[in-house]
């Protein structure tokens, strides 16, 4: 009886510990979202969203908002994701058994898995050194390159996973109708794996738009919207990193507003990804 009791007590203790740790994990998420909302919403205004900063805004003089950072983030992340998608799609399609022998594709997959976890500051440093060597200044272009490098392993690995789910019967029937390898890969497999590919691309976009370390030195942080690809550009993460310690409330509010917008963008991307994936899954051949 005593033994039974001890076993049950142990079970219950660990159950409580488990619930407690789950509460810590979910609680930290709630605290993060709550903090950003509580601090961010009061800082928001029409002016904040639709105007570029003016005057000596970093001293608290002059008004304006953070439109330059919002647009800058989009200008950086969208092209980077598009390029990373193209490169990632090409690599992932080529990793199939039809094209590459399993040994080589295993090696490339391994490289991608390892690169997934490389800190983004390393891409940032690399692009920065390169930029200096070529005599360029911080610009949209270098920022896009840094983000592309960051996103390629993520997107490629996701597309690769999605492609590996495609039933081989589908591929075989495409071959038997006389289509070439390339046609099969791009017209049959790509379409069949589309929901997975979309989820991967949106995940890459979310990672890219929120990353600060890789664009901190490569994209700069001016107060106007870039007019060409060689102009520097501000971005939401850069704004947060620059202003969060400011002693002037008005300036700090920019950081809070930027954090709110950034978090909302990231959440929206993750929700859209879920909805779209479900929607497009209808068209997939089972």
């Amino acid at each position: 009886m005593a033994i039974l009791n001890r076993r049950i007590i142990e079970e219950n203790i660990f159950k409580i510990l488990m619930l407690a740790s789950l509460a810590v994990v979910l609680g930290s998420l709630v605290i993060i979202v709550g903090l950003v909302v509580i601090n961010g919403v009061p800082a928001l205004s029409i002016e904040m969203l639709t105007q570029t900063p003016s005057g000596k805004y970093y001293l608290g003089q002059g008004g304006g908002g953070i439109l330059n950072a919002i647009l800058g983030s989009l200008f950086l992340a969208l092209p980077a994701t598009a390029i990373a998608y193209l490169i990632g799609l090409a690599i992932a399609l080529y990793l199939q058994r039809d094209f590459l022998n399993p040994w080589a594709s295993g090696f490339i997959r391994f490289t991608l898995d390892v690169l997934w976890g490389i800190p983004s500051i390393i891409y940032g440093v690399f692009c920065f050194m390169f930029m200096i060597m070529l005599g360029m200044r911080a610009s949209l272009l270098v920022g896009i390159i840094a983000l592309t490098l960051l996103e390629i392993p993520i997107i490629t690995r996701y597309i690769d996973e999605a492609i590996s789910m495609v039933p081989s019967g589908l591929k075989e029937s495409a071959y038997s109708l006389g289509s070439t390898k390339f046609e099969t890969a791009t017209k049959v497999i790509r379409r069949q794996a589309f929901p997975g590919i979309l989820a991967g691309v949106l995940l890459g976009l979310g990672r890219g738009i929120g990353d600060a370390a890789s664009i901190l030195f490569t994209a700069g942080s001016p107060s106007d919207i870039p007019t060409s690809i060689f102009d520097p550009t501000a971005a939401l993460p850069t704004i947060i990193f620059k202003f969060y310690t400011s002693s002037i409330t008005v300036v700090r509010q920019r950081a809070y507003a930027a954090a709110f917008i950034l978090l909302m963008i990231v959440l929206a991307i993750s929700i859209i990804s879920r909805l779209l994936t479900r929607r497009f899954r209808k068209h997939v051949i089972k």
Binding site: R7, I8, E10, E11, F14, K15, M18, S21, L22, V25, L26, S28, L29, I31, I32, L35, N39, I83, L86, L89, A90, I91, Y94, F99, I108, F110, T111, D113, V114, L115, W116, G117, P119, I121, I122, V125, F126, M129, F130, K181, E183, T186, R190, I209, G210, A212, A213, L216, F241, Y244, T245, A255, Y256, A259, L262, L263, L267, I269, S270, R274
Partner: protein
């Protein structure tokens, strides 16, 4: 005197060789990147039938394009590694590697590049973060996979994914808003230490929260892979659920848990922005865990502005990047190898 001269000569030759190799790599890199962009554009056009209606030709060009993109991409990452290696070699002409790794003063203005305090703090921060994060994450993962009803389980998963997707700068901001005052006013006085709040301990807690999702999702994956018959066998001989978890689930998924910890370590070791927002940024060994410090990654962020003004500074920072790169790479390689083994384990 003689010896010194000789050494200098050798060094110059070495440096010249490195420069030549480097220029070679540079040339390859520039041409590779341009052709990479070019080739991906071609792939894109081919995908939508713009170039030619000749099917065999299209197949040939398309396949070869994909091949070249793949090769260029893999080569590129090796080039990136060698580029950083090359840049960091300059400092070895003046200081020995042991000097850099184990001398304890980081003062670039006076030509002192001792990385020891920074490496020390990095390891301490990562260690504390993992000590906090690993038990909490494993217990949560156990609850989610073994105890929670199906419906709750389905609702919790998206939340973990969201936690994984929160940008690190937002983690840093939240830590700055909550943890810093908390440590300053409550926790540090409680231990009888005075602290500004921006300290090693705060950074460690921030990092712990950041590695929760990665460890949890990898653990869930490896717990799910265990064949249900193993658990049923244990339950049928009268073990309680927790005993089953302890004796069967943990053992069966040990490689998965280890790889989750390794990958979590890699992530925490290289985390940059959030850490540099709350760690205080002083490159010295702190007197307690409530003192400010500096990690490898946050050093790079804070030193970038002044880098160009001091000789060898750039190269020293490249050394920091290289150490970061190699350590993270090693842990990731180990983690991925163990993870693959774990994935293969229960495939029948």
């Amino acid at each position: 005197m003689e010896k010194k001269k000789l050494r200098w000569l050798v060094d110059t030759k070495l440096l010249m060789a490195i420069v030549i190799i480097f220029l070679f790599f540079l040339f390859i890199f520039v041409s590779l990147f341009i052709s990479l962009l070019f080739l991906s554009v071609i792939t894109f056009l081919l995908l939508y039938n713009f170039v030619t209606k000749h099917r065999k030709l299209r197949d040939f060009i398309g396949t070869k394009t994909m091949l070249s993109v793949t090769i260029i991409f893999v080569t590129f990452f090796f080039i990136m590694f060698f580029f950083i290696l090359y840049k960091s070699l300059f400092i070895l002409g003046n200081y020995s590697l042991l000097d850099i790794l184990f001398s304890s003063i980081w003062n670039p203005e006076y030509g002192q590049f001792g990385l020891f305090p920074i490496i020390y703090v990095t390891i301490i921060v990562t260690g504390i973060a993992l000590i906090i994060a690993v038990p909490i994450s494993i217990l949560s993962a156990i609850y989610i996979t073994e105890y929670a009803p199906r419906r709750i389980r389905k609702t919790i998963r998206p939340f973990i994914d969201v936690l994984a997707g929160v940008p690190s700068v937002v983690y840093g901001l939240c830590a700055y808003l909550v943890l810093v005052p908390l440590v300053k006013d409550v926790i540090a006085p409680w231990f009888g230490v005075e602290s500004t709040g921006s300290c090693v301990f705060t950074a460690a807690i921030t990092l712990a929260i950041m590695v929760f999702p990665i460890i949890i999702s990898l653990c869930i994956e490896s717990f799910d892979a265990i064949p249900i018959s193993l658990k049923e066998a244990s339950l049928s001989v009268g073990a309680t659920k927790w005993e089953t978890v302890k004796k069967v689930v943990f053992r069966a998924s040990a490689p998965g848990i280890i790889s989750a910890i390794l990958l979590g370590f890699g992530r925490a070791f290289g985390e940059t922005i959030a850490v540099s927002m709350v760690i205080g940024g002083i490159p010295k060994i702190p007197s307690s865990i409530f003192g400010p410090g500096q990690t490898l990654a946050s050093l790079i962020v804070s030193a970038y502005g002044e880098m160009m003004s001091v000789p060898l500074y750039e190269s020293a920072l490249m050394m920091v990047t290289l150490i970061l790169f190699i350590v993270v790479l090693l842990f990731n390689i180990l983690g991925v190898i163990v993870l693959r083994r774990a994935r293969r384990r229960w495939q029948f």
